[in-house]
Amino acid sequence: MKLRGYRGTDRGLLSGPWLAGELLGLPIGDWPALAEPTAVPPPTGDDEELCVTDDAFVRYTAIDWVHRRARVEIGVHSPLSDVDTLLARAVEHGFTGLNLRRLHGWVTPVTRPDTEALTAAGFRREAVVPAATWFDGAPAAREIWGTIRHD
């Protein structure tokens, strides 16, 4: 699996049935039929980087070049995708390609995320923010997961 830069022809990869802003956005099985899919915009400024694979995107947003950190969002179209490799590539590109020191992202426990894959990629749970998003008609807690390059 190889991350490549986003092109306009990859637009279809940017929307799907995930929770917005999720670190590891896997398709939610019981997504309401009439609900609009979540979509991320194409990159516009120098504080964003968008990479894609054949069935997923990796978005580095809120890149701060002073603090050398970024928030990561991933959207995977197929639940059968190799998320372990995708996460490893995302971390590798953030640390070596973008030369960032810290990557972090949102994880929403109510969506039953694959935390083993996140842990295998080096992410650790750092904080819990109650009522951080709106899900299924009610506020839902979100966790902040992050990883640091030690150099």
């Binding site: 750092e126 998003t133 709106w134 506020p139």
Partner: protein, 145 residues
């Protein structure tokens, strides 16, 4: 009760500049590495609301994913300006949940206003030639409506 006076982004940038080190990390901005024009632009882009509270600045940024939640900051070492901001946001904007990302030395103002520890973001902030941890402090208010 401390009075709050709303500031324009340009006024807020000048106030942050005057606040010095206490303003580093205020709503994700940093007057040491950002000039006034960039500070004003960043505050506008984040939809920040900044208020003068006595001699300090307090402010909030709404959470776009959850309109009842706001990220708050203060340049004061005391809890009174934070209490005034929370009272304003709770009463007039119906916010019920508040989050503060602050360094260890800035936590007292928020803990004194009723915030609780929720976690630590290691190496999240760079200042003074070193990376520093940020504390995640949270507070929830009952919904009055």
């Amino acid at each position: 009760m401390t009075d709050l006076r709303p500031l324009s982004p340009a006024e807020a940038a000048q106030g942050l500049r005057r606040a010095g080190d206490a303003a580093r990390g205020f709503l994700g901005t940093d007057p040491v590495t950002q000039n006034d024009a960039l500070l004003a632009r960043e505050l506008t882009r984040r939809e920040a609301q900044v208020y003068a509270a006595g001699g300090a600045l307090v402010g909030c940024v709404p959470n776009r994913a959850q309109p009842r939640q706001a990220y708050v900051s203060s340049t004061s070492a005391g809890p009174e300006p934070v209490r005034a901001l929370l009272g304003h946001l709770t009463t007039y904007q119906r916010r019920t949940s508040f989050v503060a990302l602050v360094p260890e030395e800035g936590a007292a103002a928020f803990l004194g206003a009723g915030f609780a520890h929720s976690g630590v973001l290691p190496g999240h902030h760079y200042a003074g030639h070193a990376f520093h941890d940020l504390l995640v402090l949270v507070k929830e208010e009952p919904c009055r409506s």
